[in-house]
Symmetry: C2
Subunit: 159 residues, 2 copies
């Protein structure tokens, strides 16, 4: 049986282990630089940088979800789902969908207008699942990221 | 001469007019459903849903920028740039880059690791400009959005 609860600071070490598991599944394990200290710092406070859900299947931790607020200047506020991860032995039980449904319910309860997330273009089963939910794919938008040296140069801190 | 300051609640009517101008430029004016009331509600408080910058060129409002915090579970917190808009008569003066540089400086000052934003795939001049900044394009990710009836159905509110 599934029970879902908020992730607390005590579960940060477990959360970080599952983030690495998820990154490994996504073939991106070399990109994980986040530390337990950062996660602990960012999940607490009156306005935490992210919020998380922990699904338990018969008392065993089955994965995690992480989400945070985003803002559309055209439509208003929503929740961005950063990760939905279900551990291998708990798949095909509807846990991923239950986590998304929980975040959808949180969004509506908070008066928000939309959910957003991203999916790897080779992850066909996930893409098909999202289509069945009625999601829109923003295919004419490219996601861009700037960090490290490029970020410091733009800020005028280095030449 | 350029001077940039934070957008305040008093400037919300002007901000909404410029959002519509920007949406018209992006051929998306029919997507703007945000109201002045929503913008006013969301820009205030100890943890506003978004923050904004207003560039003035010789005392005239030349555009706007809107940004908010995002969270990468792999790398940590950053700022997401929702919009950078420079009004037509103020283009080619480096105002867009100055706004991005200001947001980059805010990110570094707040100890954040990255900027993110999105660009329409037909906006070649913008894409080339971002490449010159050293930005990474996350070409294998698709952006997904769920709202309205699909969101309510996922939340279990309607069948």
């Amino acid at each position: 049986m599934l029970r879902t609860r908020d992730i607390t600071i005590e579960e940060v070490p477990l959360l970080r282990r599952m983030i690495v598991e998820f990154a490994t599944f996504e073939r991106l394990a070399d990109q994980v630089t986040i530390t337990e200290e950062m996660l602990a710092r960012d999940i607490v406070g009156s306005s935490p940088r992210f919020r998380g859900l922990l699904p338990e299947w018969d008392g065993q931790v089955a994965g995690y979800a992480i989400y945070f607020s985003f803002y559309s200047s055209f439509e208003g506020p929503g929740l961005f789902i950063e990760d939905i991860y279900v551990r291998e032995e708990f798949r095909s039980k509807g846990i991923g969908k239950a986590l998304m449904a929980e975040i959808a319910a949180i969004a509506l309860r908070e008066g928000l207008v939309a959910l957003r997330w991203e999916v790897l273009d080779w992850n066909r089963p996930a893409i098909d699942f999202y289509k069945r939910l009625g999601a829109t794919f923003l295919d004419d938008w490219k996601a861009v990221r700037l960090e490290g040296e490029g970020l410091r140069r733009l800020a005028g801190i280095t030449q």
